[in-house]
Symmetry: C2
């Protein structure tokens, strides 16, 4: 055990806090007790399938970590943690249909393994069970507060997905439009998972909002990283098809920034690549990647993600609890960005 | 004005109750003030499109009527009424994708007018806005009670739709399986719309459940009628493609009862028609219809729907308010079944 890990273990013991792996185990126990065993099987089997595909299960951990910052007993946060993961998986199922994505976490997507109609309907019932779990697990004012946070996030996620779709047929996208889109589509749920956990832990509304902001900033950093990896990542490690964003003409940060930086000639080259249909997939990926490289876009994206990461840490610092209570949120943030480094 | 209408008008005045057309007007005002004008337009325009396709808007009326049975002021029921209609339309948007239905209420379905992805995503956001409207419109315990009723219904609707899909590839379906499916898919929401209205009106839980049961029975009767019309209806009046159920091999009551009644020869004929792909659509519809006619299935279906209608009225009678307060629920039930007569 390194000195750093020893210090962390000591602090956790001092504050009677669970380690990341203890929290993960608590969550997995809870998730295993909450699989969907009811009829009709054809509706619920795909739900269990996607919920068991693995993934890092960052969102439920964030909920538990936020609760633990404010109180010892994290058990009350488990249903909300489960809801954060269930909602995330709902959005993956529907998004994968829209994106015609064959793989998710290196395995078949739900609509590939079953069919599109199953993906639509099983996704719908997952969304409904999110609300059901919140209402059945929490009393009165707390339930309403949680549903309220959840609603805001859920609406943002749909709106973000719509902007993402819009971007595919838009000629250009500004960087601020792009950041707004990923905040809604990806980052809002990280913020919401933390905010729910904070509220369950009895945090002040200021602290709950600071954690929301922390989650959003981390989420934006995470998505910028995902954009980089989708184009420049290692196919083995990425778990999705590398180059998928380019083939779908996704207007990621890489594209938005390229349009800002490119000269007329390069801009035209990029635009015509987007509109070209008689080109081999591998060639299109290669040519777009070469343009990004010429413009040093990967480095700029990395700088921007580091900026958001730093802003996230500033919000976390402001949360009104002992700094030591924040160590796990810091280390999971590191872990989240790990694949980049 | 007929004597019957005059009597009804007198009773309504006596109880300070609004007429059906006054309630409809109140609902329309509310709905018009609650259209979705926010960005992104591509997400919300389809929501306004489907919400404005017309339709009978039975579900919101049921909510208002249930409230009015217990108290004079129906204004508090308007958001729940809106939610009942919004949820209904959400389910239509997603079901129409799954059924590859080109028309809804005689107009293009959402996925036809826009595209499938829009149908999925706009449907999702409609579902989320149902919860948002409930939580923002009602306080504390009432909000939770309403979300609880709504959740139960929403889960049933998804499960019912799944059974309906399962039936397409099942060889046979029993009548009880069929009735269970339509109760979940169609009738549960009518029951839930009434139950929400009753709770808002301050009804006892017994009365709220009686109205739920009334709605479910009426709903089953209504769906049986829909099955009949889908096969035997007038294309002009029906608003959907007549024969659609047959072409999709839907195991409606007509089919379930045919399998019970048919001799071996007829059963085989029906089964092979389901499996046949090299047949003109019009021929398939004709041949299946001829089998139904030979077995007198239309009459039996009509008898069964009248049975459910009577059972609905029995539950309505038991609701513990003056009989005169029930006249509008009776007349809207009549209206609902009108197209049959």
């Amino acid at each position: 055990m390194s000195q750093k890990d020893q210090n962390a273990a000591y602090i956790l013991q001092l504050f009677k806090m669970q380690t990341l792996s203890q929290l993960r185990a608590s969550y997995h126990n809870f998730a295993n007790l909450n699989t969907f065993e009811q009829a009709p099987i054809a509706l619920y089997e795909p739900v269990n399938y996607i919920m068991n595909l693995g993934g890092k299960q960052i969102r439920p951990l964030l909920t538990l970590l936020a609760t633990q910052m404010f109180k010892e007993d994290i058990a009350p946060a488990l249903p909300a943690a489960f809801v954060a993961e269930l909602f995330h998986n709902f959005s993956l199922v529907h998004d994968d249909i829209m994106d015609v994505a064959p793989l998710r976490r290196g395995k078949q997507t739900v609509h590939e393994k079953y069919d599109v109609n199953t993906g639509i309907l099983s996704g719908d019932v997952m969304l409904i069970h999110c609300y059901n779990k919140l209402i059945k697990s929490y009393d009165g004012a707390l339930a309403i507060q949680l549903v309220d946070i959840f609603n805001k996030v859920a609406i943002e996620v749909c709106e973000g997905q719509q902007y993402d779709i819009n971007f595919e047929t838009q000629d250009t996208v500004t960087i601020s439009e792009y950041i707004d889109m990923i905040e809604k589509k990806t980052a809002a749920l990280l913020g919401g998972a933390l905010q729910m956990g904070a509220v369950i832990g009895g945090a002040s509304s200021e602290d709950a909002l600071l954690l929301d902001d922390f989650g959003r900033k981390i989420g934006i950093a995470f998505q910028l990283q995902d954009d980089i990896l989708d184009t420049f990542g290692d196919p083995e490690k990425f778990g999705k098809k590398v180059g998928g964003d380019i083939l779908q003409n996704k207007k990621t940060y890489l594209v938005a920034r390229s349009f800002e930086k490119a000269d007329m000639h390069t801009e035209q080259a990029l635009k015509s690549l987007f509109n070209q249909t008689d080109i081999l997939e591998a060639d299109k990926i290669d040519k777009v990647r070469t343009i990004f490289e010429g413009l040093d876009i990967q480095n700029e994206a990395t700088q921007l993600l580091n900026d958001y990461y730093r802003q996230a840490m500033v919000s976390l610092e402001k949360v009104n609890v002992a700094s030591d209570r924040k160590i796990l949120l810091k280390s999971i943030s590191d872990e989240l960005m790990q694949r980049e480094k």
